[in-house]
Symmetry: C2
């Protein structure tokens, strides 16, 4: 059994780095707050006897030796970055839970056959730089390191510049640390476990993701003197797109969602009809065929709206992540650990994307979910209980022991 109080203490100690008045965390990737939590994490890993290295995209790897160093390490961990209005658990539980597993094994004097590697992946959230799960995507070869280093945030700062500014451009090439498999602990970020009174979610799959960048070009004109029928209003166009996206996601539901999270009017003024808007779209489904249908319906809907309103709408697919099907043996190992420990569990699909989804494309991967309050995440009010967090960490530890061998 892990040390529940120590885990809880670490979560709340690090929540000060970017802590907000509403009890959440604002710790955008590669910000000064992110540097603070990284420094804390490196020291904690070193204190736990891990050998820590940083790769060219800033991901931190802490290695615990195994008896048989010819075996590839079992990877565990998650991320420490958050959304602009993020919570204390998303990513953090999985990273500090991994650290807690190491501390517990140390205290118990347990040596494993295979080594264990604790990982903090850079920019899982995708809020400052696209795509989400950026570093793990480069790790599995979906993008080159140079491509990722050149990605820009809204202010034009590149990933490379941001890494340098906090001193986290590491000296190891991406992929330097080989892993045999990866297991990630996370809060569910949805309402199912809580509603059904289950403690552990055995994640067997994950939704695919479509991310688009969009731009609407209408025509700026006077709010008072331009008759309604002559307008080419970019905001009215966006409004129809938002509602069309909502209707399309509902039509393909319950296994589909669609969101417009960002929309910026260029040169806004109260008495000017908006002429230009940049926006983003996020569509998801666990079913590849539904993803294709969402893309098709969305493009058709937008084309019809644009033509009718005589405005130009451009959309660019900037990221497509197919649905994830986790490794059956690892899924069974997680399910088994939950059973052995006496926790109630159910199979579950992840609505969110996770680094484990990327790693699953090149190695066996799996995930452990615990409930979160009212399914709320990406919100400062995100919450989870200490016993649930401890239960998930125990399941993570027992899964690792089963895979790594004692």
């Amino acid at each position: 059994q892990i040390d529940s109080a120590r885990l809880w203490g670490s979560i709340h100690e690090t929540a000060q780095f970017g802590g907000t008045a509403k009890g959440g965390v604002r710790r955008l990737t590669l910000s000064s707050e992110d540097k603070q939590v990284r420094d804390w994490f490196r020291k904690a890993c070193e204190d736990a006897g891990l050998e820590v290295h940083v790769d060219a995209l800033g991901s931190q790897f802490g290695l615990r030796k195994g008896r048989d160093m010819s075996k590839l390490p079992v990877g565990i961990g998650s991320h420490l970055d958050t959304q602009p209005t993020g919570g204390k658990y998303d990513g953090i539980l999985g990273t500090l839970g991994a650290l807690e597993v190491i501390r517990t094994l140390n205290d118990a004097g347990i040596e494993t056959e295979a080594p264990i590697c604790v990982v903090n992946w850079t920019n899982e959230e995708g809020s400052r730089f696209a795509p989400a799960m950026m570093a793990s995507a480069a790790y599995v070869g979906d993008f080159t390191t140079d491509d990722i280093l050149s990605r820009k945030d809204i202010d034009g700062t590149t990933v490379g510049q941001a890494l340098d500014s906090i001193g986290y451009r590491g000296d190891k090439p991406v992929g330097f640390q080989k892993l045999g498999c990866f297991v990630e602990l996370h809060i569910e970020q949805g309402p199912i476990l809580e509603a059904e009174g289950k403690t552990i979610g055995v994640v067997d799959s994950g939704q695919g993701v479509l991310w688009y960048d969009g731009k609407i070009s209408g025509f700026e004109s006077h709010a008072g003197s331009t008759p309604m029928p002559l307008r080419r209003d970019a905001l009215a166009t966006l409004s129809e797109i938002v509602l069309a996206m909502e209707a399309i996601a509902k039509k393909h539901g319950p296994n589909a969602v669609g969101t417009i999270g960002e929309a910026v009017i260029a040169n806004p003024s109260r008495n000017v009809i908006p002429g230009e808007i940049a926006f983003t779209m996020d569509c998801r489904s666990a079913d590849g065929a539904i993803m294709d249908a969402l893309d098709r319906d969305l493009r058709a809907g937008i084309a019809e709206i644009a033509a009718r309103r005589k405005v130009e709408v451009k959309i660019d697919l900037v990221w497509r992540k197919p649905p994830t099907h986790f490794d059956p043996k690892l899924i069974a190992a997680v399910e088994n650990a939950a059973k052995t420990l006496g926790y109630s569990s159910r199979r579950i699909t992840s609505g969110a994307g996770h680094d484990a989804c990327n790693l699953n494309t090149v190695m066996p991967a799996a995930m452990v979910f615990v409930p979160c309050k009212d399914g709320i995440s990406h919100n400062e009010l995100e919450d989870a209980t200490q016993p649930d967090c401890a239960a998930g960490t125990n399941v993570l530890m027992h899964t690792v022991l089963a895979i790594a061998g004692v």
Copy 2:
């Protein structure tokens, strides 16, 4: 006859102050570009023999003596500030046209009975600070000087601070310069004169304006893991409000318009459902009863949308300007001048608000419109012809001569 080439030269010389690549002007009120054009205008007025004073809100008054100084001056002029994506003519034609009238009278050695006062009103556009036509509203007593001085732009800078930063907080109290009447020349900013091939618009009325500040409070949550039916999406709510406003304006049309020009998502992120949005609304009609109906329908529509989507929507009416009915004698004087000069004309309603609409509440006022290309205004592509600008300025001069007496 005024000097068409000199007028055209002044318009294009001052268009460099904030000139944009697309041929428009970006000269927000009380910005450094506004200081440049104000300095130019003061020197030009002084060179034309006017005595220039600046009031506590930065409006510039250039007085030309009359034979009978016991008579109140005839006020002419407009504004030199622009929208963020503004044109070269909106406000500028009326201000530099007034200067051209003075220059022409000087050249011809014409002395008038009553004095003439050329005015550049501060912040007519209302884009940086609300309301629009700010300084003329204070002049007629709709707001106190202190109230206006404390108004803030989006960065929190007050009108008072902005005045000081460009050295245009004048030493004269607002209202120091009494005027007997006011005549304003302006581009139409709508499509009617051009469509009907008329040179002069004799403005007999102006639309009333309702300005609101709005705020939507929904709930931020995860774009991937939050099922569609559980969302409280602030952007979807705004979208319904935008389309409701459009439908309501059309329902009360053709004599009504409605626009949402500004909308800002708080803490936007691609994979977060928007939780909070601040926005503005602008509704207009030349009919007071329709204005009331717009307000009523809008409030009812928003209440229904907010309740159905379980979000909070607050709206504050920040400005209400009733419809304007200009002075019959001055309207006749403008009509007469156009006729005498041989220009085709028609009576017209102004879709936009103007300083003359404020002045009309305390003194006789009127306006002269000239056509603009495709009715386009509040856009960098705003355009007008040299002959039309000269025609309007001639009508302004002959109207002034008729009122002031030669």
